[in-house]
Structure formats: C-alpha cells, structure tokens
C-alpha cells in the first residue's frame, strides 16, 4: 500500500514536471526578476545599482504616470461592465434563434474577434477619418455640421477606443454566455411556464442566477484584459500626435523601457500594474461570487 502510493507520487511528479519547469522558467522566474529590477536603476539591458524605493517615489511624482494610471482605470470602467452586459444581451437574443440562422448571426458577432488589431485599427481609423470617414455623416450633424477629428480631440479619444474595443471583443463574451445559457436545463423553464411565470420573471429567477458564474468569469477576463490595454491606444495615438493625454499604463511601461532605456523605472511601473490587477480581480471575484451565493 505504502509502496504503491510512493509510486503514484513519483508518477504524479514526473507528469507535473514539464509544466512546473516551463511555468517556473518562463513565468515565475521572470516575474521575480522583474520585481528585483524595480528596485534598481538598470537600463533596458544589463544590471543596475540597488536604489531601494526610489523608482516608486519617482512614479508618484511623475505627472505622466498619474495620467496613465487614471486613464487605465477610466478605460476599464468604459469597457468591462458594458462589454459584459452587452455580451449577455446579445447571447440572450442569439439563443432564441434556431438552426442555421443562429449560426450565421453568431458568426457575424464573432467575426470581429478573429481580426488582428491592426485591421481593426485601419478599418475604424478610416471610418472615423475627419475628411473622408463614413461616420462623419453621423458625427457632423451632432457637431453643428462641422467634421469631427475624433482621435485628435482628447475627451473623445478613450471613449472612441473603448467603443471599438467593445465591438472587437464582444464575440468572445457572447460565445461564453451562449455556452452558459445552453447549460441551463429546458425543464426548469417548462416548469416555470406551467407555474405561470412571465418571461421577465423567468429571466430574473432562473436565467440570471444560473448564468451568474459565467457572468463573473466574463467580467474577470475582461477586467484583466482591459487593464493591460495597449495595442489599440498605441496604434490610434501613433497616428495622431498627443500621446501624453491618452497614455495608458502599459504604454507608459513601453515608453520608459524601450524609448528611454529606463528598465528599472519601467519594471517599477509594471509591479504597480501587476499589484493593481491582482488586488482588483481577486476583490471583485470574491465580491461577485459572494453576491451570487446569496
């Protein structure tokens, strides 16, 4: 008995080892190194001297870092909840369709998700274009007939990018919700109908509580994803000119590390982002799960 358990352990260890090694070498080790780097004045490549918390102190007084920090939070607020709720709404609609029509509509919603970010950028950049964009037919009347340079107008920049991001990633949320909805047994709805429950009651009493775990999952995935926003903001800002007012945290890290050769400071900003994502996602996951259990 004892021998066989030891053999089992050995087998388990042998099976675990490849993953553990890859995870350790490619994830844990670099993460620890990054934390170490955050306390040095290292350039992008090569060692640096230990400077204690100096990098973190510099972050607190850097106007650009605080812009990046608040912009990131703003972007998260603009995207996470809306794209989660919109995903649920679309999934509820698609779920009511039958047969090939459902597949076609689902594919239509999923299509943007498979596009690379560069295509998404080019498409929307043209549609929003100040001189030739098709969206100017909608925007200009709202602006007293004047064409609007959306990405050059600082207050419009992040909301516009958030809108595009939601459009782009919605398909994935819809897919998760559809899977969740299909898991809810038809019989529960039938029983509810026999008891005379309206569609509205059915939604709030059956669908909403049973889809809750999926909602929490989608919300968390979106939260982590949007905290790491970089590509879209970088691309759209690169074609306009005012980087600073639209700066987000990953862009700040990129800039400090690769443009200005400040590895230590960039690592410190990464540590802040890492801690922020960890704290907020754990908090919200616990909070939402507790609510769901009720």
């Amino acid at each position: 008995m004892l021998r066989s358990r030891r053999a089992e352990r050995l087998t388990a260890a042998a099976l675990m080892a490849p993953f553990a090694v890859v995870y350790g070498v490619l994830f844990v080790y670099p993460t620890l190194k990054m934390v170490e780097l955050a306390f040095t004045n290292a350039p992008l490549i090569g060692p640096g001297a230990w400077v204690g918390f100096d990098n973190f102190r510099r972050l607190t007084v850097d106007r650009l870092f605080s812009t990046a920090f608040w912009n990131t939070l703003y972007f998260v607020a603009l995207t996470v909840a809306p794209s989660t709720l919109l995903g649920l709404v679309v999934a509820l609609g698609v779920n009511r369709l039958k047969g090939w029509l459902q597949s076609v509509v689902l594919a239509a919603f999923f299509l943007p998700y498979i596009l690379p970010v560069s295509c998404v950028f080019h498409m929307w950049n043209w549609m929003f274009d100040k001189d030739f964009g098709v969206l100017q037919y909608v925007l200009a009347p709202l602006n007293g007939g004047q064409h609007v340079s959306v990405f050059r107008t600082t207050p419009y920049f992040l909301p516009a990018v958030a809108f595009i991001t939601t459009w782009w990633l919605l398909g994935f949320n819809v897919l998760l919700f559809i899977a969740g909805l299909r898991n809810i047994s038809r019989e529960i709805y039938e029983a509810a109908e026999l008891d005379g429950a309206s569609r509205w009651t059915q939604f709030w009493r059956i669908t909403w509580p049973l889809i809750w775990p999926v909602t929490v999952l989608v919300f968390t995935i979106q939260l982590i994803l949007q905290f790491k926003i970089f590509d879209q903001v970088y691309l759209f800002a690169n074609f306009i000119v005012r980087y600073d007012p639209s700066m987000v945290m990953v862009e700040y890290i990129f800039k400090k590390a690769f443009q200005q050769n400040m590895g230590g400071l960039a690592a410190a900003a990464s540590v802040v982002l890492f801690a922020l994502i960890m704290i907020i996602s754990v908090l919200q996951y616990q909070l939402l799960r507790a609510r769901g259990r009720r």
Partner: protein
C-alpha cells in the same frame, strides 16, 4: 533506405555550405519603407548583381522608429543582429550610450576609402560619439523643404523670373504672402499635423532666431524660451488666420497640395518622388521646391541623416574581414548615392553632391543650399527620431499650431516635461 537518404541529405548540405563559403553574405537591417524602401531595394539589387560571385547582401526591412532601435538593442546584447544597419544620426547619442554601435577606427575607414573630408563637417561630426570616435558613415542629408504651386504663386505675384518664389523672406512678408495666397477656396499652406513634422518646422524657425534648444543640459534655457514662444506664436497665426487648415493628417496635407487646394506645402524631401511621379503622369501642375524661407535673422533648416553603422554584437563581434567588407560596401553605396538622391535626399558624399550629374538633378539642386546651414537635432539621448523631444512636439507644438494651447504655455510645458526627464 533511410541511410541512403541521410547520405544524400548530408552530401547536399555539404554542397550548399561549399557554395556559401565561396560567397560572403552580409546581413543588413534597415528601416526604409515606402519610396525610400523601393529605391534602396533597387540599389541593393544592383549591388548584388555587380558582386554576384563574391558578396551577397541579405537585407531585411524592419519597422521605423522605436521598434527598430529596440530590436537592434536587444539583438546586439545577446550577440545577435546584422553585420550592417542603417541608423539616424540624430539617434546616435542613444546608440552610443547603450553600447549598440561599434566604433570605426580611422585606419579601417581609410583602408576602405572612406574620408571625413568627403562629407560636410557638421554631417560627419554628427556621426561621432561624445568620445570623439566615429560610429557611423552618413549616406544622405534629409530635411524639410517648401513645395510650391507655380501657377498659384504667379497669380499672387510671388513668382520670380527664375521660377522660384520671391518675397517670402522675413516673417512679415511670409505672413503677407500667405494672406495673399489664401483666396477662392485655396489656402496658402498645408502642413502635416504629426509630432515629427511639427518638430521639424518648429526647430527650423527656432534656429533661424539663433536659438539653442538644449544648452549645458538645460532645455530652452534663458531667452531660448522666448524664441520658442515666438516660433509657436508665428505657427499658430497660420491656422488662426485660415492660411493653413487645422488638424490636417499627414496624407491629407499632401493631397491638399497636389490637388491645388493649398498653394504651398512644407514637408520632408522624401515626398519629392510623390510629386515627380504625379507630374510624370501629367497629374500635377507646374511645381517646384526650395529651401524654407528665412523668416528671422539667419538661414537654418532642420536636418537629419541616414547613416550606416556596424553593431557591437556582444560576444559575437563582426569579424575583421567582414568589417572590411562592410565598410567597402558602405563606400560603394556612397559612390552610388546619386540613385538614392532620386528619393529627394541630398547625398552626404560630397563628390556626388558636387558632381555635374547631381547638379542637373531637379528639384534637388534647387534646395541643396540648405545643407550649408542645416541644423541637426540637439545631441542628447532624449532627442532625435522617435525620441521624447519628438513626442513633446506632438504634445505641445501641434496643439499650439491648432490654437488649442497658448504659445507661451506650450513652450513652458515642453521645457518642463523634457527637463523632468533629465533627472
């Protein structure tokens, strides 16, 4: 059966290695895309054809700006990377400070026929590090120029007998000319509203006042702040008075000029091929290009230079024999830089720049005068292509141009932002 296959494979690879050894390969990285890329490809093909039995250049084009320079930095740190690469002279300070560039000794330069006296002094010096060592060899000087529509200028009485603009020098004359040209749905000027273009125009006018952007580690120190404010106020006037449209994207600014909706256009020499090609197809009016007019006390034009450098690959340096080959190649490209001048650039190599062939090349020879008073970017790791200085221009010069921020405020904030980065 398997053994037979293996033998065949081994024989084939031995054969391939044999061929490869007979012919040297130079690994080449550049950031030249668009019209520059096409022109460089033609030159590379010519080189490979002329050296068909001895050298083969294996060229890769990478993304311009920060991506290129970070890739070079990360590659050389692990002993990887090319044998030769293009480098902006304005970005040399960062390259030297991060140890990416390998110094070129006077002896090896001489051995390949490269002489400092074959380049203009400012151009040659811009390729040196703070230690006085040579780190690159310039290929060209590129700058901004004034493109103009001869028909529209003639109508406004601003065209001389020689087909060049007249009466544009001095800020008051320049403004009056813009006002005169702005009529009947045509604006006087079209400007690309991106950070880099903003910097080039700003730096040109700033230096025409004898300004010093960076002096003893201080940005816009003393009366330089006032000069920067004057420059921004002048630029703001152009948009405010409707002489130049606001928020013009880079391609749109070119389109405004080529469609005759703007009488003049300030942009880099690299857009010359755009005009030449359109004119060849008969789709462009009679046009010309000259040095930027002198608005203030002295002539000056922003300039940068594409140059060639050898990376300092850590632990895997380019071998001496390969270095000789690379420097020979650099010399070959300079000797053939007349073809490169077709891209609007001015050849850095004086024997070509002063050759009758180049003097016959229009419109390049109309603006070659700018090389004598060209001002290169401040020597700092914070300046140069795709640097914080360029970003600062995007953050402050362009908004000032479009009247979103007062000139004095823009100048002060630009100074403070850049100064904060020096700490």
């Amino acid at each position: 059966m398997i053994r037979k296959l293996l033998c065949a494979a081994a024989a084939a690879s031995a054969l391939l290695i044999g061929v490869a050894q007979a012919k040297e390969t130079i690994v080449w990285w550049d950031f030249l895309s668009g019209g520059d890329g096409v022109r460089m490809k033609t030159l590379l093909e010519q080189f490979n054809k002329e050296h068909a039995d001895s050298v083969q250049i294996d060229a890769t084009t990478l993304e311009w700006g920060v991506p290129f320079y970070s890739k070079v930095q990360t590659a050389t740190a692990v002993g990887d990377g090319p044998d030769i690469m293009t480098y902006h002279e304005s970005r040399m300070p960062l390259g030297v400070s991060t140890g990416v560039l390998s110094p070129l000794s006077p002896d090896e330069l001489t051995a390949s026929g490269i002489k400092g006296s074959d380049f203009s002094p400012a151009n040659w010096k811009a390729a040196q590090g703070p230690d006085g060592k040579q780190y690159a060899v310039p290929l060209d000087i590129h700058s901004i120029i004034l493109y103009y529509n001869k028909d529209l200028l003639k109508k406004a009485g601003l065209l001389g007998e020689d087909g060049k603009p007249k009466g544009l020098d001095g800020a008051a004359n320049w403004d009056a000319a813009l006002a005169k040209l702005t009529a009947n749905g045509v604006t006087g000027l079209a400007l690309p509203n991106d950070g880099a273009s903003g910097w080039r125009i700003f730096y040109t006018l700033f230096n025409q006042q004898g300004g010093q952007f960076l002096k003893d580690g201080k940005f816009l120190d003393g009366d330089n702040l006032a000069k920067a404010t004057t420059t921004l106020a002048e630029m703001q006037k152009w948009v405010k008075n409707g002489w130049a449209p606001s928020n013009t994207e880079y391609p749109a600014s070119i389109a405004l000029f080529t469609s005759g909706k703007a009488a003049m256009h300030i942009n880099g020499v690299w857009e010359v091929p755009t005009m030449v090609d359109l004119a060849k197809k008969g789709q462009l009016f009679d046009w010309g290009a000259v040095q930027i007019p002198v608005l203030y006390s002295q002539p000056a034009t922003w300039a940068d230079s594409h140059s060639f450098a050898i990376p300092d690959r850590k632990g895997n340096p380019v071998s001496p024999a390969k270095r000789k080959l690379v420097l020979d190649t650099i010399h070959w490209f300079n000797e053939h830089s007349l073809a490169w001048a077709g891209g609007g650039h001015l050849p850095a190599y004086l024997p070509v720049q002063e050759s009758p062939e180049f003097k016959a090349l229009k419109p390049n020879s109309d603006y070659v005068s700018l090389a004598k008073t060209a001002v290169f970017d401040p020597v700092s790791v914070l300046a140069g292509v795709a640097s914080p200085v360029y970003d600062a221009a995007g953050n402050y010069v362009i908004p000032a141009l479009n009247g979103e921020i007062a000139p004095a405020e823009a100048a002060t904030k630009m100074r403070d932002d850049l100064q904060a980065l020096t700490k």
